[in-house]
Symmetry: C2
Subunit: 183 residues, 2 copies
């Protein structure tokens, strides 16, 4: 599917409601569940989404429009939430994410960008030259990836509990380690 601004906005607009529907008022046993050492809980993912809103999505759009390929985006700290979320309540984080996303989409609308702008280029600190369209498509895919992560972490809490049904629940199986079939 070709990225078009008009397709992407309805998805981006919905993400705070999706995350709130999942997490608002959910017992701590789910909010702080993880998949294993070093993995993120739903609470951690929520903090990561907030940090993306503050430092990645619209800031990089504006950076790209201002600097083109002359100046690389600042590096995004994907684990900033481990400090930023400390001691905060999930309900506050959900409100903050919804407020930030609404503001992001208002800033985006004010820029008056059209699909003709999607080929404009910026400089990624690792990838080099990237397009505005790639960055904007990533915003959507990143939202979906982290919603998927939240529900995967939750579902996997019952990997042992589902007994033989695990054979039908592909989400409960860990990602392949690359081992040969039968190995």
């Amino acid at each position: 599917m070709i990225y078009r601004i008009a397709d992407a906005l309805p998805v981006l607009r919905r993400t705070p409601d999706v995350v709130s529907a999942l997490l608002d008022g959910l017992p701590d046993v789910w909010l702080y569940a993880i998949e294993g050492p070093g993995t993120w809980s739903p609470f951690d993912v929520l903090g990561h989404l907030i940090h993306g809103e503050k430092t990645d999505w619209m800031p990089r759009v504006e950076h790209l429009l201002a600097h083109g390929e002359a100046l690389a985006f600042p590096v995004f700290d994907r684990e900033a939430m481990f400090i930023a979320s400390r001691g905060r309540k999930a309900a506050d984080l959900l409100d903050e994410f919804a407020t930030l996303r609404r503001a992001s989409l208002e800033r985006f609308a004010k820029l008056g960008l059209t699909d003709a702008d999607l080929e404009r280029r910026g400089l990624h600190p690792e990838f080099g030259s990237v397009t505005l369209g790639q960055h904007l498509a990533t915003w959507v895919a990143h939202d979906m990836g982290h919603v998927s992560q939240i529900v995967r972490v939750m579902g996997r809490q019952y990997t042992d509990e589902v007994g033989p049904w695990g054979a039908y629940l592909s989400m409960l199986r860990p990602p392949s380690t690359g081992a040969r079939p039968g190995a």
Copy 2:
């Protein structure tokens, strides 16, 4: 995490709101998106959740309580929605799913089951003897698996569009085919 009825109910109660937050009013380009031939769209997944509500979750709870291991559950048709959803609107399906889930949880509450009942046994047509607890844990994991599927299908529409960011978006990579690393 050990399955407990009191943990599972808040998750099951939220699923219709999660699916509605994702899909209500979403443009058709997302609702009917698929990952490839023979795969399910978000619209298909919604129909599958409805069919589960009608023929799997509470019907099997009641079947198990009535028959124990003396009579196997009827087989669940996981693709019934391809006919049942035909010609229907997503908004109607979302309403139906919410109504059915609410009714399921009311039926469940009326049974007055406690965690002491989780070891009660029934007969699965394929797996043989299973416990009520396994079936109930599967209800939660199945919900999470299909929410994950909906957002995966959506995110993967932009697999090509994200350009180099695909390296960071594990959800966009197809499941391993079992090939050896480097093959």
